[in-house]
Symmetry: C2
Subunit: 106 residues, 2 copies
């Protein structure tokens, strides 16, 4: 389970991968494998992998404590060949965010 | 606060709005106003509004119990003119998802 808060010291990356539906499951598995590689790194907070209902996207919602922590996580993934493997399967579209508002019915 | 779980009976919409940086704050405010309008509706679970650090996107991470609940929420927003107002400010790119994996350091 991950949590979303506003106004926290959290750096969020939302990465929308466009994918051929025949590769959606393989991409989701690869993303989960990548998360397992980095989840013990300093500053890593969470990752949540989502499959689109239409089959054409996989989106990862990931959190780290700050941008330098995120850069180290990215470098670990890159040096282990994950970026190359992602790009063989799909078109990534990452962006860094700050959550400014979160409301829930709970 | 919102929570992300895998394998729940939750329908997630992730909507990435592309926006001119000069309109990013206004779009974020409009999204929050829209959330307040629908947050008491049946099946609504959460919404979390994110501003990209580079100013070019606003992304809403929203959850409902099921797709019919989500359709009713969308219709309420449409009939109150929010879709028209969003499109005057930005280019929405919504997609419906199921979360299949979530891991956190907590």
């Amino acid at each position: 389970m991950a949590t979303i808060h506003a106004d926290q010291n959290v750096t969020t990356q939302i990465n929308v991968f466009e994918v051929d539906p025949k590769n959606q499951d393989e991409l989701a598995r690869l993303l989960i494998e990548a998360v397992e590689l980095v989840s013990a790194m300093p500053g890593w907070i969470s990752a949540s992998v989502h499959k689109s209902l239409d089959g054409t996207r996989v989106t990862n919602y990931a959190q780290a404590t700050d941008y330098p922590a995120w850069e180290a996580i990215v470098e670990r993934l890159r040096s282990n060949g994950y970026f190359e493997r992602f790009q063989k399967l799909a078109k990534p579209n990452p962006c860094m965010y700050r959550c400014i508002y979160s409301r829930s019915s709970d």
